[in-house]
Amino acid sequence: MSFDLFAQALVQGILIGGVYALIASGVTLTLGVMRLINFAHGDFLMVAMYLTMVLVSWLDMEPYLAVFLVAPAMFGLGILVYHVLLRHVVTANHLMQAQLTLGVGLLLQNMALVIFTGDLRTVQTGLSSAKFYLGPAVVGVPVLLAFLVSVAFAVGLYLLLQRSRLGRSIRAVAQDPSAASLYGINVGYINRLVFGLSIAAVGVAGALLAPIYVVEPTVGSTFTFTAFIIVVLAGTGDFVAALVGGILIGLSDSFGLMLIPGNSSTILSYLLFALVLLFRPQGLFARRRA
């Protein structure tokens, strides 16, 4: 591999990894606080991408402004889905949660199929081909923006949890829901809020990804897998670790494509996943607890 190729794979892996990390931060949040496994996570991302497409293509909005509408809308959708469906399985075992969220995912996919048909769509922006050179590597402006906003959102979530009163309540619920409720914290309210935040995070990611990738009803599944691999890699409940995990997966994808032909190129991230499960099931960065 030439140095130019290496530099390109490095830059691209880090940038796309940031977006992966934002998607994974939603998973890590629901898993860490509520112990809820949400297999519809990527499908919510798909919904956010379609929402962005509607705002941009039909209402002529700039996609980077659309974020400010898509994220709150997704927050609302998250709260609604939580209230109607998911709150009933928060304390149930993981298999039950997996079944329900897989069902929600299928429902979202088929609704998208009915509304938008299976046609593949794209979101065009004025910045679509904007770029600059960083040494030998090309940096696309859309993916750079996606990276920066993703990191900013993840840092914002981190600060919210660490520095605010609400964050303290969330952490209390994460540590022990019943003790938290004894101290007057409304656990149901916190759970609803956390799920809303997690879906708002994919809302942001969806709005940023829409101009980079293509939009179709099944686009979410790829990202669900990626998010869960990152969470296993990083351990739950740690945004900084999720960021590092996301970048690791971004890098293994971009170097995989460069070094390994065809479909086998995704083997690097799965290999990483398998090794972590075998040797550090608590996550790469978490301290093992007794």
């Binding site: 691209q12 993981h94 794209t122 971009s254």
Partner: protein
């Protein structure tokens, strides 16, 4: 690392285990119907359709068509049906099938629901209960493969319009008639278009890069591209495969760029093509690209890619402005009030092929129809709307029959409009060659 107390969950490893389990379940659920094996069909208690001669003066001759009218392939299925309906209407309007006393041609549709088992079941029902003497196969390869086996067992002619894998006609099934081009014609045509543009338009072929999606379609076509490249005395400066569902193909684009391409040949689906095209543009690679029309000449491409669509060359079986496609495109637009697409044209041709074969059938039975198909030699003309030089079925290794005269044309986006540029006797506009500037 800043963990902040949420990590309490790591008491046991239940979560990673559950996640792994969930991923496995999802993967299994997401695996497309395509990989499901052929449905088991009960050992037939039903005898093959009667082979005795039917009465010679019939009112209607029925052709069965289990087609994807709902499900993931419904858009394509509807396209085929609209073309097929137009053909049947025209045939009947000009007096039906002359050989059989002006009998009308009746298409009996069934909804294959984009599912292999439904396609096979409906095909069986059409033959056994609806009295059809021939069938046209469903659109999707995964539906066509098992259902064609049912037609074989029930000894009824099966016309394949869309399954383009060369293996489709290499299964030794003798009742299959494949009208469509295969990956061989595609693979060869990529190189032939390039060769022609090099000779006539000075296309720089000093560095040809083959970059292909690594599923059946791309693998089959790229194999034939390599073969033809060698035959024609060219060389590939890079041969790169990629997975079609990757959200980011910048690494692939960087590898293409490193080979300093002057021409890119790219068997691709629409989604991966759009992602790759954008990535190449990011890396300032804007040379001549050639691909299949389903992605490279997609009607919505100018909207999806803007100016990046200009200059792309796509290989297709039909185009609306070609000499053989023009008239039917006008009649179609008149009937439906929307432009004809290639799916409709293929459906139209399928029904037309059966009508022509019926004129040559010796008896009005599946066997008679098969004899008609084998005797068929359709020259270019009014009855041939596709870019084939004819329809002549030849038998592959004493098994299935394929159209030996199937061919392709090339279309190009020029200033946002799709025009036919190759071969020269079909071309309506001169090709414009991308210079890489």
């Amino acid at each position: 690392m800043s963990s902040f107390g949420l990590a309490a969950i790591h008491r046991h490893h239940a979560v990673p285990v559950a996640i792994t389990l969930g991923i496995v379940i999802t993967l299994a659920a997401c695996t497309e119907a395509g990989s499901s094996s052929a449905p088991t069909i009960r050992p037939s208690a039903v005898a093959a359709p009667s082979q005795t001669a039917a009465p010679q003066n019939v009112d209607a001759i029925k052709i069965g068509w289990p087609l994807e009218l709902t499900g993931s392939l419904s858009a394509t299925g509807e396209g085929y049906r609209s073309g097929g309906d137009l053909a049947a209407e025209e045939i009947n309007a000009r007096g039906g099938i002359a050989k059989w006393g002006g009998a009308t041609l009746e298409l009996v549709y069934a909804d294959a629901q984009s599912k292999p088992e439904v396609a096979s079941g409906e095909l069986q029902r059409l033959i056994e209960q609806e009295g059809v003497i021939g069938v046209i196969g469903p659109v999707g390869s995964s539906n066509a493969i098992p259902s064609s086996q049912v037609a074989e067992r029930l000894q009824t002619p099966y016309l394949n319009l869309s399954a383009s894998a060369e293996t489709f006609v290499e299964r030794g099934l003798t009742w299959i008639y494949s009208q469509t081009v295969t990956s061989k014609e595609y693979g060869y045509a990529y190189v032939d278009v390039m060769d022609d543009l090099a000779k006539r338009k000075g296309l720089d072929t000093s560095s040809v890069v083959l970059v292909w999606e690594d599923q059946d379609m791309g693998t089959g076509m790229s194999e034939r591209v390599r073969e033809r490249i060698e035959e024609k005395g060219y060389q590939l400066s890079a041969d790169i495969s990629y997975p079609r569902t990757q959200p980011d193909l910048t690494s692939i684009a960087a590898r293409v760029k490193e080979a300093r391409p002057t021409v890119i040949i790219n068997p691709a689906y629409l989604g991966d093509f759009v992602v790759l095209r954008r990535a190449l543009d990011q890396l300032d690679v804007n040379v001549q690209m050639i691909g299949p029309a389903t992605s490279y000449s997609h009607p919505s491409l100018p909207e999806k890619l803007g100016a990046l669509a200009d200059g792309l060359i796509g290989l297709a079986q039909w185009s609306a402005d070609s000499p053989q496609g023009k008239s039917v495109a006008e009649r179609y637009a008149q009937k439906y009030g929307r432009p004809m697409n290639v799916d409709a044209a293929i459906g139209y041709q399928g029904v037309m092929t059966y009508a022509l074969a019926l004129e040559l059938a010796d008896v009005l039975t599946p066997t008679g129809l098969a004899n008609g198909l084998q005797a068929l030699d359709v020259p270019p003309g009014e009855d041939l709307v596709l870019a084939h030089s004819g329809i002549r079925f030849v038998q592959v290794d004493n098994g299935s029959w394929r159209n030996a005269a199937a061919g392709l044309l090339a279309t190009q986006y020029q200033d946002g409009a799709l025009v036919t540029i190759w071969p020269s006797d079909y071309a309506t506009t001169e090709p414009v060659v991308a210079t890489g500037e």
